[in-house]
Assembly symmetry: C2
Homo-oligomer: 336 residues x 2
DNA sequence: CTGAAAGCGCTTACAG
DNA sequence: CTGAAAGCGCTTACAG
């Protein structure tokens, strides 16, 4: 049997297609009785609405998300929060993983734009070129919001944690604990988070009369191995810090495993995953609120879709430091 | 300026809309010269194809994925593999997280069907009702493939690891290592993986003259806390096993943390994440190949889309045991 | 409160 | 190799 169309419903109810369409939109211009009759027929005849065919409607109710990947719990949580918030707003989500490849990111965006998404949420790949991104988005003028990472010089709505502040919290904490030589294993070289956090860390250390030794600032991959490799690099070079600041909790776990043989060295990082508190020893970490970031991104996008003329806005979430054993002197540890 | 339409390109090139449409499809029925001319105009005029408007085309080139969540690395890897494979096949991905709520899963599927996806990949939520799922899918006859989890009595293409075999591998290994009292902290009660693995574990233990004591088979949540809570439950009940089989590596990490005070108890689990080998002690785990699962799922779906009349197929991946210190007697440990 | 008509931006036979 | 015409399944003014 052929699929049931809107015109079949209209015929069955003895009304026009326009009326059925208005029922679909729950318009106030159709009487209650007619609505009931039409809905009953839709249900009975197994009608499935074809959203694609609403060519004249201004919206598709699809939003696209292009993000790096979900191997990292921060990005996994962020993706889920975005999906949940968009669902609640009535959108269906198109998703693509750039895997931090700017060219793939461009291809994914172009594909989504061909599907006429109402808006785009973008976690920019490392090395995203401002001009290229502008070109990709300009042809369609699709509303968009940047999430979790900036693109230098690119003017757009943005949501993310305040990375400078996050690193300041860590730097001040380590200085107050008395650590002197702090290493920064802060993630990939192209990452805006790395640059922002390095700046914040340096600032906080200098405010406490310390320096961030350039020899102790090392680019790392974002995973467990990145932390371990950077530690091995430091130790091999005879550069032994007394505290290490990592890119993320996962990186910190790798670093801590590699540091096990090197005596007691403090470790702090960013994300504050549940695993940070449960680690042995418990890991000092700065909460970066991916769930809240995702929710705010969805709200900013909705506002942007509703009014494309809005001035662009940046939402910075305030990070929160959770000091734990991994950076506390023995006398400051809680004795649980 | 108004968006450029296909008819604008046609006018600019002095050809019909049909010809431009054929160029878009790279049809062999258009001369090389015309193609060049049309493509140049598209590029110059900033044309953006509107896929929605291809109402008469049989395909949308959109595929939907409804999965549980990506908090667990297995599902994160699976989602990424699916996205990558579908992209390579030319599809754009609609994604929804059911969060293991069958009602939400139904809503997500209905939404995707309204968008006329060419096919659906489904990681069924716990407690998915066969009849309800059939009803949701039947109205549209959308091709679909089940991934990683079965639905009892639901006939469809399926890809996943062979859970029975996976648990047999673990059971045989533990028995051969001499463990006598094996506990099974095998995940949520509604999970098909749990049921299949419990069956495989029992079978292997019995083949080695041991039993799986029902008092030692405990439902757990799929996360870290699930492992810790189940261990505490066992210890509080005075049921001390000499080996514990966990639902996943993450669950195992929680269990190991909770077991730390209880002396040496062997732990094994499923997934074989990179973190398993790096854990202290290294964790015995069965690899379950999420990346391969995702790839195979995309291929099965493509075959199903190409020929809906195909008989349904089940692809079972053979798991692989990686024995490590967490289950090896001291004398069997490698001395690295 | 409802309908007839035009339209959304493409694709698909069909004809030449 | 190309075009004129009809069509995909909806929505939107407009008119009454």
């Amino acid at each position: 049997m052929a699929r049931v169309r809107l015109k079949d419903i209209a015929a069955a109810c003895g009304v026009s297609r326009a009326t059925v369409s208005l029922v679909l939109q729950d318009s106030g211009r159709v009487s209650h009785g007619t609505k009931e009759r039409v809905r009953e027929a839709m249900h009975r005849m197994g009608y499935v609405y074809d959203r694609r065919a609403a060519l004249r409607a201004s919206r598709t109710m699809i939003v696209g998300l292009v993000t790096t990947h979900v191997r990292n719990p921060y990005f996994a949580e962020l993706s889920m929060a975005i999906e949940g918030a968009l669902y609640d707003q009535g959108y269906t989500l198109l998703l693509g993983y750039s895997r931090d490849d700017a060219a793939q990111q461009a291809r994914l965006l172009e594909g989504m734009i061909e599907h006429r998404v109402d808006g785009l949420l973008i976690v920019p790949a490392y090395q995203t070129d401002r001009a290229a991104l502008e070109r990709t988005l300009a042809a369609s003028a699709t509303p968009h919001v940047l999430v979790a990472r900036h693109v230098e010089g690119f003017d757009a709505d943005y949501v993310g944690v305040d990375n400078v502040r996050a690193a300041e919290l860590v730097g001040a904490h380590l200085a107050e604990q008395g650590y002197q030589r702090v290493a920064f294993l802060g993630g990939p070289a192209g990452s805006t988070a790395r640059a922002e956090r390095e700046y914040g860390l340096r600032k906080a250390l200098e405010a406490h009369g310390r320096e961030l030794d350039p020899a102790l600032s090392i680019a790392t991959s974002a995973d467990r191995d990145g932390g371990a490799a950077a530690v091995q690099h430091l130790l091999a070079a005879g550069q032994v810090p007394d505290a290490v600041v990592c890119y993320s909790d996962v990186t910190a776990f790798g670093a801590m495993a590699a540091l096990r043989s090197a005596g007691t060295i403090a470790v702090a990082s960013f994300d504050d995953l549940p695993a940070a508190a449960q680690h042995q020893p418990p890991l000092t970490s700065v909460a970066t609120f991916p769930a809240q970031t995702g929710l705010d991104a969805a709200l900013l996008l909705q506002a942007r879709i509703d009014d494309p003329a809005l001035p662009s806005r940046s939402v910075l979430l305030t990070p929160r430091l959770h000091a734990r054993e991994s950076t506390l002197g023995p006398n400051e540890r809680s004795t649980t």
